[in-house]
Amino acid sequence: MEQRQETVEVEKQKNWTNKHRKKTLFSNKHLLPYWLILPTLLILAVLTIFPLGYSIYVSFQDFNTYGQPDGFTGSNYAEVVTSMTFWNSMGVTLLYTFGVVAFEMILGLFMALMVSKDTKVMGYLRWVLIIPMMLSPLVVGIIFRLMLNADMGIINYMLQSIGLPAVNWLGTSGTAFLSIMMVDIWQWTPMCFLIILAGLQSLPQDPYEAARLDGASRLQILKDITLPLLKPIIIVALVIRTMDALRMFDQVFVLTQGGPGRATEVISFLMYRAALRFSDYGYATAGLFILLLVTIVLSYGMIKLLTRNEKAGES
């Protein structure tokens, strides 16, 4: 009897707590997760979602000569896609992107294969190889501007000291384009290297041993085992580097300002000029949205390529 009384008391107390708990802000189990992600959502909203939405709005605005919005228009996009300078820049950007990404991937893979053995020397070497990546792109640009200087740069000095003629690196279209590519390759190959190295070291070891016993040579092992197993990692590196290279700005800004002529005028630089030099914000944002579209299509294509092959293999 006494025990029963006690149970009733406990129940009462439970009911009381439950009733009063409901009144606090965070006690609703269904709402709690939303409270928890709210801070992140707020930051994202301020820093990403709002600017993105606003720039879409801007890309549909006509701007007057004072750089002030002057009503809705669809002509910005039309203006972009009919302009020759835009297509020139698109060509430069794509050529640049394919060039540097291909070079960086092959070089990165080669370097990763070289240092993937776990010895002490290789450990130090790995650190040295990723130093370029740690520098600010702007600083790298300035260093290279000094090195590439036609009159007093160290590169020409070295060329001349072995009897070769000096090159006006940033002064002619071809060499200027090669120069900005070179800077990018110097700085960002380490990233491909690092990603591929991480991939290489996480590969299972026993298929390698099996392949050695099955009679495969080193080259056959690379072709039949390493590369297929690395494919997902390679695609990841490829997508990241492609997205990055498409929006490259710093090197051109520091080294060539898009010149000579329009030889190195990548889209981000063209649109930067349109916005901040000529106050044509509508045109600039429209152009950059087209670049974003190209980036999305290319990345999606690459990811699709990966998953399609996976599926084809399974069937």
Binding site: D206, P207, E209, R212, L213, D214, S217, I225, E314
Partner: protein, 360 residues
């Protein structure tokens, strides 16, 4: 093809893994390397495959020294514990990879794959990827890849340890049959004594980097050369009772009971024992338990009874010693009951107290 390890020593850094291993595997033989983890058995196998280099010594396949040869030059095939299938290749590509490397034509590869698939009953899996297979199926694919060409030696590194108990028993039989049919010299590494006993022509028991005994399964079971082998083989394990040799009194002293010895035994003990200490070893099935006093029997008290259906394991305390006995399942015995133990004399093993080598 005959395989020979000559004075093989292997160290990882300062740690010795194998010391002075001498072992000959006859042509066509199925040899099992048996031992606990870290005994050096896998290292021995991997050195034969060429995946590890010995610190010193020489390995021969046939009459050819192979120690400096690459794995692919040794013409060996191996089944790994993890199967080591190529995850991105289909089953067909997996099993025919060794042929592809040898530039065998596609038609011939197809023919060989069909032949192996039929033996292993994996014909319906050829298009699948390893991740779509069960453990047992992966195991068969790994076997298939080894069987598709006729290697000099066939190596297996704990190939069944990732399978469930029922499948393991099944595959055990399959592998044994395959070996009999193909007659290829095979080396099989395992820590499972049942696998070793059921499959091997001869078993090499390894412990602490040393070969403890090399003999046919029955001999290993009935005539273990030392205490380690006696204890390692057999389930439940052999009982050991520590005692002393009292030569002048014609008996062995085990504290709570004595064991009378005759002139012949005395001679052997005098000759073989390094000191006075010794171990009596007796397998649980060689211990008889009776509920009534018997002449010459040792009195004890039942500690626990474990019925297993076809037999019953009885653990009996005799003074400070614990003795395990396997008895008929229908004997009426309870915990704490007084019982009398008798050992089958001709099944007793005596080991030296210091060297642990077999004395009788």
């Amino acid at each position: 093809m005959e395989v020979r390890y000559e004075n093989i020593t292997k160290q990882f850094g300062e740690t010795p893994v194998l010391e002075n291993l001498n072992l000959t595997i006859h042509d066509g033989e199925f040899l099992v390397l048996l031992g606990p983890s870290g005994c050096g058995k896998s290292t021995a196998l991997r050195m034969l495959a060429g995946l590890e280099d010995p610190t010193s010594g020489e390995i021969y396949i046939g009459n050819q020294p192979v120690t400096d040869m690459e794995p692919k030059e040794r013409d060996i095939s191996m089944v790994f514990q993890s199967y080591a299938l190529y995850p991105h290749m289909s089953v067909f590509e997996n099993i025919t990879y060794p042929l592809k490397i040898r530039k065998v034509s596609k038609a011939e590869r197809k023919k060989q794959a069909d032949r192996v698939a039929e033996i292993l009953e994996i014909g319906n899996l050829l298009k699948r990827k390893p991740k779509e297979l069960s453990g047992g199926q992966r195991q068969r694919v790994a076997l298939g890849r080894s069987l598709i060409r006729e290697p000099n030696v066939f190596l297996m590194d704990e190939p069944l340890s990732n399978l469930d108990a029922k499948l393991r028993v099944h595959m055990r039989g399959e592998i044994k049959r395959l070996h009999t049919e193909l007659g290829i010299t095979s080396v099989y590494v395992t820590h499972d004594q049942t696998e070793a006993m059921t499959m091997a022509d001869r078993i090499a028991i390894m412990e602490g980097g040393h070969l403890q005994q090399l003999a046919a399964p029955n001999e290993i079971y009935n005539k273990p050369t030392n205490k380690y082998v006696g204890g390692f083989i057999g389930s439940p394990a052999m009982n050991f009772v520590k005692g002393r040799y009292k030569g002048k009194e014609d008996r062995l002293d085990f504290d709570v009971f004595d064991f009378p010895i005759d002139h012949e035994w005395r001679e052997i003990f005098e000759r073989e024992l390094s000191g006075d200490d010794l171990y009596l070893g007796v397998r649980p099935e060689d211990v008889q338990v009776s509920t009534t006093p018997q002449p010459g029997a040792v009195k004890g008290e039942v500690y626990v009874v474990e019925p297993l259906g076809k037999e019953m394991i009885t653990i009996v305390r005799v003074g400070d010693h614990t003795v395990m006995a396997c008895i008929e399942p229908d004997v009426d015995i309870e915990m704490n009951q007084e019982v009398w133990l008798q050992f089958k004399n001709h099944k007793l093993h005596m080991f030296d107290g210091k060297t642990e080598a077999k004395v009788v």
